[in-house]
Amino acid sequence: MSALADKLRGLRRQAGVQAPAPATVRRPEPMPDNLRALLGVRRRTDRAPVRASEPTPLPGQTIAPGLQLSETRCAWPPSPGRFHAGFARIDADIEPERLLLFDTETTGLAGGTGTRAFMIGVADWHKGQFRERQLLISTLAGEAAMLDCFVSWLRPDTVLVSYNGKSYDAPLLKTRLRLHRRESPLDGLAHIDLLHPVRRRWRGVWENCRLATVERQLLRVVREDDLPGAEAPAAWLGFLRGGSAAALHRVARHNSQDLRSLGGILAHFTQACD
């Protein structure tokens, strides 16, 4: 495009750098298999797919510029009741109302200041039901509002529950809060990272301790039309660059399943304690 870009491309070629593929080329949205099957029938009839041209709306409601919130409630997993958190090496009895389960979807795993969360999923037991709230940003400028909203859900006595959140999600959110010049309340909160009790219990028994493995082995959960976590960044980037929001619904379902599994694993440990 620009003269500078041309010059730099030339110099890099001369320096032996293999040219990076321009990332702006948009690939067609992957479609769910069942839909593709249906469309396959239509294609044979040589008619343009009618629904494919309609833009998919973003998940949830817009609650601030660039910020979507979806909220759902369901019966499973059930509330664990008051429990002693010794299995997570916390010597305290915990009321289920204090629990806040959380899981983020991020732009990658590279770490450092350049990786951000584009979705924060949070769940708690509210009025006897499992309540999930998912925050999703549709613009980069929505990030500050997302962080503020997430922080507003934390109370001083909140107990965080996550899977590998102590090493991954919490530090990442702390970094983002810091970059937006906000205080991070995360450090002061109790945090049950279920990865550690799972590892203590099943390391060497299962092939690994990834969340998907625990789900299958412990909870017998079968994921349906799951978007692999590794494809989440591309789904969001594609949308950000003007692509469809369709894949973001699959990201949201993936995140939601993660949250329910967190609840299920927690329930397993709290029952084992009874």
Binding site: M1, L4, P22, T113, G114, L140
Partner: protein, 806 residues
């Protein structure tokens, strides 16, 4: 520092005649060597000693720190240390450029510790090597203990264990690290260091003379990123920089941090008299002009010095040479296993604990002779020495003085001996003592706006903090660069902001030691090894890593067995071959734009942008010493294309017609003159010989000239095999060009010194001892050519005479 009589002087008395008798200092040894080996000493001079100039401990220093200094025996400061204290107290950025062992570290330790005691202010120290960082922390800890100051200093480098890192980030008052760690670990994780940055008051950068060329250009950009992150945390730290003696400390420091810097260059530390000898090994074969090896001479001088009871340090250019010289000296001095060893080797590749042990023994005076690589060059404290022997020229006047600076005691004269190897540069220097003696130390140069380096660091900076539209990076608007990165898909522009969006960690892909990342690695497969021993820039790969090439790594010859061009790897094995290889490259240059020009004698000189097309067509095998051409090999590699900057000289056809009988003569003269100019230019800009290249061709790119099998110029119009007769005016042009895409700033300083260069090249040729030409002046000449009527040497002189300033 150590004024006690040398306890080992006694045992050096042996029956070796007068040379072995103990002497009081380097002056006596210098006189003795000068008497005995007058024919080998090509230059000898003395730097007078100087009394110390002192200043009282500043009154505004914290009492506990004063106490700590007193308990370590420091009752007053050197004058330059007091100056540094006053300048930092006045809020100025400071560079201290005083000789080795003048107490530079106190210049920054005092303000840093004071601020830590008074305001819990933090400081970041950057050293080029881990070893230096560890030394510095050891010193800080000693001072801290002496005064119970409660200041916490830690090293933070690749060896720092993960669980210690968090504590260092939170509790370190002084964090001692290196530019690579700052680039790859600290800045990309700056939020974890938030507390540290919010209280960061001082940034100390030692050994800034090592941050020049490509490395320096990268470091300047890392410092831009550091200052950008500091601004985010609302701090503007003060910089304290230290440098060995270079020609332009203030300018260089200011180029690195892009702010005005106060230079303190006048050392108040006392120094003893320093004797310097330039030593050329004796001619052992007058017919072939062969000289004895530098190694044999260094060994002899070191032996003599140690026998005379003087603490001696020998610098060798390679690890292998360290081991060889150590063995020679141990054979003489350590043949009784019941006694503690008197000779030690010191080089990279030893375990840190081994190195610490060696340093302790040296400081304690238990070692009489040390053989080291440049690992010891930078500030590692080993106590006082009497004699330094350099086995070969270290590549710059500044580095030579820095190594000589290792020897020196307050009340006793010291001696430095430079032993020349057969390398053309060494021979040039040792035969021109006045160049060495009178030469101002070289200027350190950087080119922080080199396009590829700049792009790499804007990429890293965007990962660390988003850019605003129109934001400056260094001195220029970053916007066009950000747009390039957005096109690439790593940044996303939303309104006024460019934000990092890719799933990658860009600092990991940026090496501070190369331009862009197309580098080749050299893999040693000797005896089943599979280890990387060197990296070679993409642009130099075709010239030095073709299959069959003899590739020197730290003066050790390896032969390239296989070149994996796509995989960017060259597989080599150690070789004992008695020849070296020289690529036959066809290089065609074309001037794209002249930035500036001026008359040069009967011709003109310019600098500007050029296009270079280069093909390596094959290589020659050349026997060592005799320089006979003993064979050829084919090379089949892709052509290289390069946009870069160059300096060039041209002569009009009229001037050529008067000076030369025919075009062939003129071209021969140009090629020979290019050889000589390349040698002096490499010295002048502190460049590696391969970073600066030479070529002869037509200014419009219509033809170029390369030496044929007989060393005579051959005219070609294309990189292919066919030659053609040229049309149009005959304007031969001599180019010196920067070998990196986009250039790294070598050609501008060459243009500034254009008149000096021609004059020096002319002297080099005129005063060379050879008859018709040799590698040390105009390039190798075949024996058959030596008696021709127009030897290359005289043709080169004719060209240089025409372009020398009138």
């Amino acid at each position: 520092m150590n004024a006690l009589p040398n306890p080992f002087a006694q045992r050096a008395v042996r029956g070796d005649g007068a040379l072995a008798a103990p002497v009081a200092g380097g002056d006596q040894l210098a006189r003795r060597l000068a008497r005995r080996y007058a024919d080998r000493i090509t230059g000898s001079f003395v730097q007078p000693g100087r009394e110390g100039r002192y200043a009282p401990l500043p009154g505004d220093m914290p009492a506990t720190l004063v106490q700590a200094l007193r308990s370590r025996g420091i009752e007053q400061l050197y004058d330059h240390q007091a100056q540094a204290w006053n300048a930092t107290a006045a809020g100025k950025h400071v560079v201290i450029a005083t000789p080795t062992a003048s107490g530079k570290s106190l210049c920054y330790t005092l303000p840093v510790i004071s601020a830590a005691i008074r305001q819990r202010a933090k400081a970041l120290f950057l050293f080029p090597t881990k070893a230096l960082a560890q030394d510095q922390v050891a010193e800080l800890l000693e001072l801290n203990q002496a005064g119970e100051l409660g200041v916490k200093a830690f090293t933070f480098d690749g060896d720092t264990p993960g669980d210690a890192r968090q504590a260092i980030r939170l509790h370190g008052d002084i964090v001692v690290s290196n530019p690579d760690m700052l680039h790859q670990a600290i800045l990309p994780h700056h939020t974890k260091w938030a507390q540290f940055f919010e209280n960061l008051r001082y940034v100390v950068i030692d050994e800034v003379h090592t941050y020049r060329g490509v490395f320096g250009s990268h470091v300047a950009n890392v410092l831009r990123r550091l200052q950008r992150v500091c601004a985010f945390y609302g701090v503007t730290p003060q910089f304290i920089l230290c440098s060995a003696t270079i020609g332009n400390p203030a300018e260089h420091a200011s180029a690195l941090i892009e702010q005005a810097v106060t230079a303190i260059t006048d050392s108040g530390a006392p120094v003893g008299e320093k004797h310097v000898l330039l030593w050329n090994p004796p001619v052992v074969n007058p017919d072939l002009g062969l000289r004895a090896s530098a190694r044999s001479q260094s060994n002899r001088i070191a032996r003599t010095a140690i026998r005379a009871g003087l603490k001696t340090l020998v610098f060798a250019q390679s690890r292998l040479m360290v081991e060889v010289l150590t063995k020679y000296l141990k054979d003489v001095f350590d043949n009784d296993p019941r006694k503690p060893p008197r000779i030690r080797a010191y080089r990279g590749g030893y375990l840190p604990t081994e190195r610490r042990a060696a340093e302790r023994e040296m400081r304690a005076g238990q070692v009489d002779g040390i053989v080291s690589t440049s690992a010891l060059e930078l500030g590692v404290d080993i106590g006082a020495l009497d004699v330094v022997v350099l086995n070969g020229y270290p590549g710059s006047v500044a580095a030579t003085w820095q190594r000589f600076g290792r020897a020196g005691r307050r009340q006793q004269a010291s001696l430095g001996v430079l032993v020349a190897s057969s390398d053309p540069l060494d021979q040039y220097l040792v035969r021109h003592p006045e160049f060495f003696q009178g030469a101002p130390p070289e200027h350190a140069r950087i080119a922080p706006d080199q396009p590829l380096i700049l792009l790499d660091h804007i990429r890293c900076a965007a990962f660390e903090l988003p850019f605003r539209l129109g934001e400056l990076f260094g001195m220029q608007d970053a916007t066009p660069w950000l747009q390039v990165l957005a096109e690439e898909g790593v940044l996303h522009q939303e309104g006024e902001r460019f934000e990092w969006i890719a799933d990658s960690y860009p600092a990991n892909a940026v090496s501070l030691r190369s331009v862009a990342d197309g580098n080749f690695v050299v893999v040693d497969r000797t005896n089943g090894r599979q280890t990387i021993i060197a990296e070679v820039d993409y642009s130099a790969a075709a010239l030095t890593l073709y299959e069959g090439a003899i590739h020197m790594v730290q003066s050790t010859p390896y032969q390239v067995e296989k070149l994996d061009w796509e995989g960017r790897k060259a597989y080599v094995t150690r070789t004992q071959a008695d020849y070296y290889t020289d690529a036959i490259d066809y290089t065609k240059l074309k001037v794209l734009e002249a930035f500036d020009g001026s008359p040069a004698g009967a011709g003109s000189t310019h600098h500007g942008e050029v296009h270079v097309a280069r093909r390596v067509a094959g290589y020659k095998k050349i026997r060592y010493y005799t320089h006979e051409n003993i064979g050829y090999g084919p090379v089949n590699l892709p052509d290289l294309e390069l946009h870069t900057t160059a300096v060039w000289w041209q002569l009009p056809q009229r001037a050529l017609d008067q000076a030369f009988d025919h075009r062939q003569q003129a071209l021969d003269g140009f090629l020979a003159a290019a050889h000589a100019l390349h040698i002096v230019a490499t010295v002048a800009v502190m460049a590696e010989a391969r970073d600066l290249q030479k070529a002869v061709g037509s200014g419009d790119g219509a033809w170029f000239a390369t030496p044929d099998a007989n060393g005579r110029a051959q005219l070609r119009t294309s990189l292919g095999e066919t030659d053609a007769v040229t049309q149009g005016p005959f304007v031969p042009t001599l180019y010196l060009y920067d070998a990196f895409p986009g250039g790294v700033g070598l050609s501008a300083p060459l243009y500034e010194r254009r008149e000096d260069l021609v004059r020096l090249a002319r002297e080099l040729v005129l005063r060379c001892d050879c008859r018709a030409g040799c590698p040390a002046c105009v390039g190798p000449v075949l024996a058959a050519d030596e008696h021709g009527d127009a030897p290359l040497k005289s043709l080169a002189t004719r060209v240089l005479d025409l372009i020398v300033a009138l």
